[in-house]
Amino acid sequence: MLLYTDPGSGALLWQALMAGVVGLLFYVRKFTSWFRGKNEKKDSNQ
């Protein structure tokens, strides 16, 4: 994707840093929902 507007330099780096942190949260959330789903399945089987 070509840049159209001035992306700043510091603002771009700050956004990338935040994106890294939130990107990790995505996996944390994915893992917790997988884990929760697994437990719920176990509970419903009992």
Binding site: P7, G10, G23, F26
Partner: protein, 431 residues
């Protein structure tokens, strides 16, 4: 588009497109870019620019931009830029007009490339208004692309460690200083999963929305915000006579387009809008223009309030002064009725503008009618603003004003407010 928040846009009809190709001014451009498609959008009545908006309107334009970016995210689209110039106002409502700003998003890109521009042109001017009282118009008239974090860093002192400055100014400045010459930072970044990129962007937009909410401009007070409520220089009887005079002119002639100059909090603009007129209300005080905008939104009135000082109207701006038209170029001949109420004495005393010039400019704005209030030097408000210089205006008598009017208008009727030195004139343009 159906909600009216994005301007209605369609493909230009074949005959209209051919007419463009025949237009000598446009033909060279079309030959250079060879467009596959030419679009047109419905025109908006009166274009305005971000440097004419009070903070309230800049905030509304920011909200619209962000809501659109969030709505597009779900469809795999995005905004390639985020500037207030993508927004115009229809009455008090913001309308997104730059449909070409919408683009297909790289599904694995977690960054919003227009983020920095959104911060520069919306968030920082709003934050500066809220914290320092510097009006967005003053910032954006001189700086098309808003405020750089570096511009603000030095002003903030210890505040740079507090929100919102920490994330909007300090972190970008600190990080940017370390990698100033590193061009690799502009290379595209891609995550493994599109869903993850969407998650990151969604979180970014929600965070910007929270910041924007905190930057919502509170109603401000100024020397003029209480003017309409207090109006101590009008008795109840005088105020009622003035209202009657203006409303009878509105009832009789039913103007469709009204320019209210020196509108204050929009009392007479509302009067005109309630009778079906589309009103542009200008005042030089950003606080009263903000109040007018709130009132127009609350009461659903077709009023476009703008921060414009008639004595120093918005100039033409941009490359060769040709990118954005001056206020006068946009306003000339655009209105059926011009209101200049309790304004002329300010222009005469404070700005030293001759009466003939004021009347002449009113005649340039209107195609038909004007209602002008003449305030004589004996009036207490006149004396307050003259500050001991009444002798400079000894010759300012109603007859002199009438003679200035007759050069451009016919006087349809006039009425001196009972027991006052104020006279209202209903004028019709002659010639």
């Amino acid at each position: 588009m159906a909600s009216g928040r994005v301007v209605i846009t369609r493909t230009l009809a074949a005959d209209a497109a051919q007419a463009l190709w025949r237009d000598e001014r446009i033909q060279p451009l079309l030959e250079r870019i060879r467009p596959e498609l030419i679009l047109e959008h419905t025109p908006l009545d009166f274009p305005s620019y971000p440097y004419e908006w009070p903070a309230e309107m800049l905030h509304a334009a920011a909200e619209l931009t962000l809501e659109l970016a969030m709505a597009l995210l779900a469809s795999g689209l995005g905004l390639k830029d985020a500037t207030p110039y993508n927004v115009l106002f229809r009455g008090p409502d913001p309308v997104f007009v730059d449909v070409l700003s919408v683009e297909q998003r790289d599904p694995r890109d977690p960054l919003w490339r227009a983020y920095a521009q959104f911060v520069r042109t919306f968030l920082l001017p709003l934050a500066v208004w809220k914290r320092f009282g510097l009006a967005p118009g003053e910032v954006l008239l001189a700086r098309r692309d808003g405020l750089e974090p570096e511009d603000l860093y030095g002003w903030l002192g210890w505040r740079r460690l507090l929100p919102p400055w920490l994330s909007l100014v300090t972190m970008p400045v600190v990080l940017g200083a370390r990698r100033r010459d590193d061009l690799s930072i502009y290379r595209p970044r891609r995550l493994r999963e599109p869903e993850q990129a969407r998650f990151v962007l969604g979180a970014l937009f929600r965070s910007l929305k929270r910041t924007l909410r905190k930057l919502a401009p509170p109603p401000r007070r100024s020397a003029w915000t209480a003017y309409a409520e207090t109006r101590t220089h009008y008795s109840e009887e005088q105020a009622q006579a003035k209202d009657r005079f203006v409303s009878s002119a509105l009832e009789e002639f039913r103007p469709r387009r009204v320019l209210d100059i020196g509108a204050n909090v929009g009392r007479f603009s509302a009067m005109a809008a309630r009778r079906g007129a589309s009103v542009v209300a200008i005042d030089c005080d950003a606080a009263v223009v903000g109040q007018t905008w709130r009132m127009a939104c609350r009461d659903r009135l077709d009023i476009l309030p703008l921060v414009v000082n008639l004595a120093r109207p918005t100039p033409a701006v941009g490359w060769r002064n040709a990118e954005c038209l001056s206020f006068l170029d946009r306003a000339r001949g655009r209105f059926d009725l011009v209101l200049m109420l309790a304004l002329v004495h300010h222009l005469v005393v404070t700005e030293r503008i001759p009466l003939e010039e004021i009347v002449s400019l009113a005649a340039e704005f209107t195609t038909d009618l004007a209602v002008i209030e003449f305030v004589a030097p004996q009036d207490p408000m006149f004396q307050r603003i003259a500050r001991g210089r009444e002798h400079l205006h000894r010759d300012l008598i109603p007859q002199e004003f009438e003679s200035a009017c007759r050069a451009r208008f016919a006087i349809l009727r006039s009425e001196t407010l009972p027991g006052s030195f104020r006279t209202l004139y209903l004028l019709r343009r002659s010639g």
